[in-house]
Symmetry: C2
Subunit: 178 residues, 2 copies
Amino acid sequence: MRDLANALGIEAASIYSHIKSKEEILQRVCFRMATEFFEALETAEATETTATGQLRRAIAAHVQVLTKNTAASAVFLHEWRHLSEPFHSEFLALRDKYEGHFRKIIKNGVEKGEFEVPDEKFAALTILSALNWIHTWYKPEGKMPPAEIAENLSAMLLNGLRATEPRAVTPLTRVHAT
Amino acid sequence: MRDLANALGIEAASIYSHIKSKEEILQRVCFRMATEFFEALETAEATETTATGQLRRAIAAHVQVLTKNTAASAVFLHEWRHLSEPFHSEFLALRDKYEGHFRKIIKNGVEKGEFEVPDEKFAALTILSALNWIHTWYKPEGKMPPAEIAENLSAMLLNGLRATEPRAVTPLTRVHAT
DNA sequence: CAGGCTTGCTAGCGAACGTTAGGTTGCCTA
DNA sequence: TAGGCAACCTAACGTTCGCTAGCAAGCCTG
């Protein structure tokens, strides 16, 4: 709190004119990020019809939210553990729901013959795992912009490392300005 | 410290008969885990000759170390940030070296025509990302044992989700008892 | 222009933190 | 059997933590 106050050019006690408690900050960050992830995901799902397209859009959306604010992302990904009830449970429910969207995209893909996975829950978890690590190394001034990161991730996750036949990886068409 | 002492059935001050400071615990955990990861990785590399084989072994080794002690893994993956100098720099150097091993396996694979990736550093990072998340959900009593997790991860990372031609995923032959 | 709301301040509370000082006990060894 | 050391204790240190109380200044609105 004293560090935060210092960064704001304010006394620590003055912060409490704006918030009720330290945890309120945590709650706001966690749930605002959750909302951002959901909105981005729903847009992604609505934009495409094929499972492959939806998944690639979903990955791009997730990466975009994640890279837009890496500090908030780190809080969203790790610090939610310190939420008190009922926020902790509520947050976990949202997380499950978000993961469920990915699971459903994958399930659809498997049913339509686009994908082939041993376990769709495991696949969804692995995809999100691969995405959720980027906040630890991503730097806005780095040479790889979020869109390119997303494309590389999509390519890797959809096609794997293995060299076989040539695989077309067409760029995503632009939906709206970022 | 007081929690730790309580878990040990001891007074907090008594801990200092065994360690110099709280950070010493952090140092020991971080560097012991680093050693474990390196030893497992080097065994994996020595066991196979193809890049594909080495990568699958390396993934299995990493997963095995990670799942053996999820609490220590969480410390290794996140809390190293709180190491003081020179341990912080030393740790980062080890991390780079470890990642370098993966990068080299991938590079070899690309040169031998086994793999096809846009950026081998990025590929290495993505693979480790996918692996390093499992400590957040893995439970020893869960229905998926570490070896199976590793196999599924290898399958996903090497082949991707996309259904194309049938891909043989042969199980790893057992090297030594676990 | 009076009232209240917003935003900030100073002072300080009570709890928790990592850690130290100094002492007691019991075992292992010379 | 004497000495030393390992392992533990009680007591308390100085610091940092999140936060509250109480107050002052500035702004907007009735």
